[in-house]
């Protein structure tokens, strides 16, 4: 590949990064709170709530994300076929975000659960005796401690998400990896793939730096 082509490729990738980052941030925006909800349902004492959640967790963690993407994107039309009605499809980007959200919420839920269970009951009891409400206890006392506990596990998942955004191309979302593949075909060179690799590496270095500095900032207490 000529230098000029490479230059063009990098420029294109920079703009495609916008989509990658959008997928990344939107997924986090939705899956971080959803995961919290799932975690709390998973910890419910009622089997009837717990069981479907466990099933959801099994599917999401047990099958490849790429299949979940395809499934969610095509589900409405397949369902429409079966029921002989027209169910409008989700836009590609929306479907990608939905699939990523559902998948990552499952992983986050399990991380939250571990983190929440690691907060000593004494903390809950102290808050209860002081008269703090359940909600106050959760958001003021428990959650901040959970965040500190789960930081390393979350860092890992965030880094994986950066790489997983590449799968969005499966349902036609144009992000870095798709661009790399196209360029690979056009120029018959695998260099674009490695340029993409560099992009992921840079993004992940940022993520990793972010987490380690957050970790240091939370180091003020034990």
């Amino acid at each position: 590949m000529s230098l000029e082509t490479i230059y063009k490729l990098v420029t294109n990738m920079l703009s495609a990064s916008a989509v990658t980052l959008e997928v990344f941030f939107l997924t986090l925006l939705f899956s971080l709170p959803l995961g919290l909800l799932v975690a709390s349902l998973r910890m419910s004492k009622y089997k009837i709530i717990q069981l479907p959640i466990r099933f959801y967790l099994l599917i999401m963690r047990g099958t490849p994300l790429i299949l979940q993407l395809i499934f969610i994107y095509f589900l409405p039309s397949q369902l429409g076929d079966k029921l002989s009605v027209t169910i409008p499809m989700l836009p590609r980007f929306g479907a990608a975000i939905l699939a990523f959200t559902l998948n990552y919420a499952a992983y986050f839920a399990e991380i939250y659960r571990g983190g929440i269970q690691a907060v000593p009951t004494g903390q809950h009891e102290a808050a209860a005796v002081l008269g703090l409400s359940k909600v106050q206890t959760f958001f003021r006392v428990v959650l901040p401690q959970v965040i500190k506990n789960i930081l390393p596990a979350m860092g890992n998942e965030f880094m994986t998400l950066v790489k997983d955004t590449a799968l969005a191309q499966t349902i036609g979302v144009m992000e870095i990896f798709r661009l790399a593949k196209s360029s690979t075909s056009t120029n018959s060179s695998i260099l674009p793939m490695f340029v993409a690799g560099l992009f992921y590496l840079i993004m992940n270095s940022v993520v990793s730096k972010g987490f380690s500095s957050l970790g240091k900032r939370l180091d003020y207490y034990k």
């Binding site: 590949m1 000529s2 082509t5 063009k8 490729l9 294109n12 703009s15 495609a16 395809i70 994107y73 095509f74 409405p76 039309s77 397949q78 076929d81 499809m89 191309q169 499966t170 349902i171 036609g172 144009m174 798709r178 661009l179 593949k181 196209s182 360029s183 690979t184 075909s185 056009t186 120029n187 018959s188 060179s189 695998i190 260099l191």
Partner: protein, 270 residues
């Protein structure tokens, strides 16, 4: 395959040619446009417009742009205009026509270095849509899901060097073929594979989930002679050619139009 000698000039005229296309093709194929099974009227309208383009020379012009000569094989006599379903009206009302493609299949439809989707099929489609008065929308899709994309109405056709075959004819509304293709064997210059028979005991790579696999299945004698009794399937043609160059395999089986594009591309394999 069309034996017009172009292959030879293409491969030997370059001093740095790395790849050679075997003259003996493994299988002949034809490219069509795939529409939804029920969208016969739409398909026929496209066929009719293509025929007009053939008549007024536009088709030949596009041929020349991409292949240097007239290559299309559109047979006007096979085109009918008897369908009455509302598919054409639907597209016309919508004012746009969505073409689904893998966008990494040069020279039929691919993304150029300016991140624009171009290609032979794209030029044809653009002209047809202009004449039908609808906007052409290009939608990159993952090839694995092309069938779903079409069925679900995300795209109106698959037009991307789409090989016609009985299975696809049964599942889709396949247009009258417009281009001839063959599955050809690509080897490295200097390879001792000169004929299909030479493939015996050799490693052959193909792009997974491509019609190359179907073509190979139609030649059981060749297939069974291969090392391991089957082709190696890798993710795409570029990897296959890389693999060939690296020495991971002895030959690649792929669409002739694509092979020629790569073989004549001065940057191929860099």
């Amino acid at each position: 395959a069309k034996k017009d000698g172009k292959d030879d000039t293409a491969t030997t005229s370059k001093s740095d040619a790395t790849y050679v296309i075997l003259e003996e093709a493994l299988a002949e194929e034809e490219y069509s446009v795939g529409f939804r099974k029920d969208d016969v009227a739409l398909c026929q309208a496209f066929e009719k417009t293509l025929a007009e383009m053939k008549d007024d020379g536009k088709f030949a012009k596009i041929d020349k742009k991409w292949f240097g000569e007239e290559v299309n094989i559109l047979d006007k006599t096979k085109i009918k205009a008897d369908a009455t379903d509302g598919s054409l009206e639907k597209v016309k009302t919508a004012g746009k026509f969505v073409l689904g493609l893998d966008a990494s299949f040069p020279p039929m439809g691919f993304t150029d270095n300016d991140d624009t989707i171009v290609g032979y099929d794209i030029d044809l489609a653009r002209e047809v849509c202009k004449r039908l008065g609808v906007e052409l929308v290009l939608q990159a899709i993952d090839w694995t899901a092309n069938d779903q994309e079409l069925k679900s109405g995300n795209i109106d056709c698959i037009w991307n060097g789409f090989t016609t075959n009985p299975k696809r004819q049964a599942a889709l509304c396949m247009s009258t073929p417009y281009l001839e293709n063959s599955q050809v064997v690509v080897t490295l210059a200097g390879s001792n594979i000169k004929t299909l028979a030479d493939l015996a005991g050799k490693t052959l790579t193909i792009q997974g989930a491509s019609t190359a696999g179907d073509a190979l299945d139609s030649k059981p004698d060749v297939k069974s002679g291969l090392k391991g009794g089957a082709a190696i399937e890798v993710d795409d043609n570029v990897l296959a050619m890389f693999d060939l160059k690296a020495g991971g395999s002895d030959a690649v089986l792929m669409d002739k139009v694509v092979a020629e594009y790569y073989v004549t591309n001065p940057n191929a394999g860099k």
